[in-house]
């Protein structure tokens, strides 16, 4: 990494810490908090699809699992939201791991289609299992993190702090896993050439399953944060539009770098929300354009532009 590339994550971190003090506005904080949740989801996608090369079209499903599990645990069993986050992440990780087993035999197109089908199944279950999920109306009226201040602005600031701290810690864990451990090397080896990786004695089965479990677990954690922040979970979070947005963010930022998708998520979500002022329908037009242009012309995303320029 060049000095310039290293400076950018630091700038993001500094900006994230200073934001609630510099711009203490509920609207800004709301967008920033949600952008942070998206950043975690995009980073989790990148661990599996960017680093390990297993393209998932189902991250909306893992995200929704985490969100529903957390919301349902708090609403129906009065589980503390802190524990609820863990419940959501664990359930998503387990389902991700179970998805990993068939995925061992599939690659490329097929894996993407299976994960897309899985997300669609999750969406249909969410829509139809009225007793647990509230059907099309979703789950609402459940409590959020305890002990936060009641005043509107202070609540937003505190919520922002909680979400950003959890997101930053999660991204740091993923970064260490990918860049500082043998697992990270194995992920990249699997992406570049799976057969060669096997020949070199890498247990590709184990590392692929690890990537699936970790990636879907953090996607589920993002879902849990979303549930406690927005306090409404409806079937539309599992829709393909969510996956599309996440992939757009990762492609925009640059695959296989973790911080690229994080940056992509922050910028694209900002654009997405910003374009609401122009007209609520143009934001997804922009996401579609960004995906197409970056896949074709800037395969390494913003991270790659920074590196080669």
């Amino acid at each position: 990494m060049t000095r310039r590339a290293r400076a950018l994550p630091l700038a993001i971190a500094a900006g994230a810490v200073l934001l609630p003090v510099l711009l203490p506005h509920p609207f800004v904080l709301t967008i920033a908090t949600q952008a942070a949740i998206w950043a975690l989801l995009a980073a989790s996608w990148d661990l599996l699809s960017g680093y390990t090369g297993q393209i998932s079209f189902g991250h909306a499903g893992f995200f929704a699992l985490g969100a529903y599990a957390a919301a349902a645990a708090t609403k129906h069993a009065d589980v503390s939201p802190w524990l609820g986050l863990l419940v959501g992440a664990t359930i998503a990780a387990v389902v991700g791991l179970l998805t990993g087993f068939p995925a061992l035999r599939l690659r490329g197109h097929y894996l993407a289609l299976v994960t897309l089908g899985l997300a669609e199944i999750i969406r249909l279950v969410a829509q139809n299992w009225m007793a647990l999920t509230g059907g099309p109306f979703g789950i609402h009226d459940f409590r959020s993190f305890p002990g936060l201040p009641a005043a509107a602005l202070a609540y937003r600031q505190a919520m922002y702090g909680v979400v950003v701290a959890i997101v930053a810690a999660s991204i740091a864990v993923m970064y260490l896993l990918c860049e500082r451990t043998d697992a990270g090397k194995a992920f990249r080896a699997i992406r570049e050439d799976e057969v060669l990786a096997q020949t070199l004695g890498i247990n590709t089965t184990r590392y692929k399953l690890l990537a699936f479990a970790v990636s879907s677990g953090f996607a589920g954690l993002a879902g849990g944060l979303y549930a406690y922040y927005v306090q409404l979970v409806s079937p539309s979070v599992a829709s393909a539009a969510t996956t599309s947005l996440v992939i757009g963010m990762a492609v925009f930022g640059g695959l296989g770098t973790l911080w690229g998708p994080v940056l992509g998520a922050l910028l694209l979500y900002g654009l997405y929300e910003g374009l609401r002022f122009v007209g609520v329908v143009y934001n997804l037009v922009a996401v579609g354009l960004v995906i197409m242009v970056f896949v074709i012309y800037f395969p390494r995303g913003l991270a790659g532009i920074g590196r080669s320029a």
């Binding site: 393209i55 068939p102 897309l116 669609e120 829509q127 997804l284 074709i296």
Partner: protein, 294 residues
Amino acid sequence: MLESLLEFLIQGVVLGGLYALFAVGLSLIFGVLDVINVAHGEFFAIGGYLAFAAVVLLHLPGAMGILGAAVGTFLLGLCVYPLLIAPLKRRLGGRPQGPLYLVLTLGLSTFLQSSLLAIAGGDYLRVPPQVSGILDLGVTAVSFQRLLVLGVAALLLTALFAFLRFHPEGLAVRAVSQNPDAAQAMGINLPRVFAFTLALGVALAGVGGALMAPLFNVYPAVGFPLTIKAFAITILGGMGNPAGALVASFVISIAESLSVMVIPSQWQNLIAFAVMIVMLLIRPRGLFGRAVSR
């Protein structure tokens, strides 16, 4: 019991016509270009909107709506290869990067769907049926509109398979599907075949959209669930095998219709995905797929 079985069977066959129109094109595109077109359903939606524009806005007869949808989606489809697929292919060179095309067409899907939303709004638009009336079969009644879908599907797919079998251009498409390098060596213009096949495939979806518009209504996201279901169908039939997709369309549609007798109807959409996942686990190349995995 027997009566309702027959009733659901008939409904299943009628639905199968639509699935076939949609999935055969998707499978053809995959077989020739090695690209899974995630945006296939958006061409279905565009077909519906073109039918709406022709019939409701311009007061043309229903047949013109279908024709307009076919021509419009065909022309739009012609642009996809040179503008999107070819540049990515050039950048990748010889490297096989299948999933990147998926991401690319996912972007196209999002772009088209939200463009439709921006242009036409999110309202459910009603399109009058091209034919009216109901055929009473005793055990069940089928509207002529549904029979029209089945009839047009049968006609177009027969024409398509005849074209692929006998026409020199169709033979070129099949040659490229089997071995692009050899086909090119024989003097076949690959980019032309790619662009043409893609246009042909999405035009079938466009016609489907125009025919289904009176039954489904038209809105920007109308096609996307169909795309996901068509993935399941093409996997069942063997990816890149249009004839397999045809058979699988009817297998899935009949299974869905009959399932209503056993499980609540809101779960019937799960069947296709369950079949897809089971199929991928036990026999990824599908019922009629090629032995070589790609």
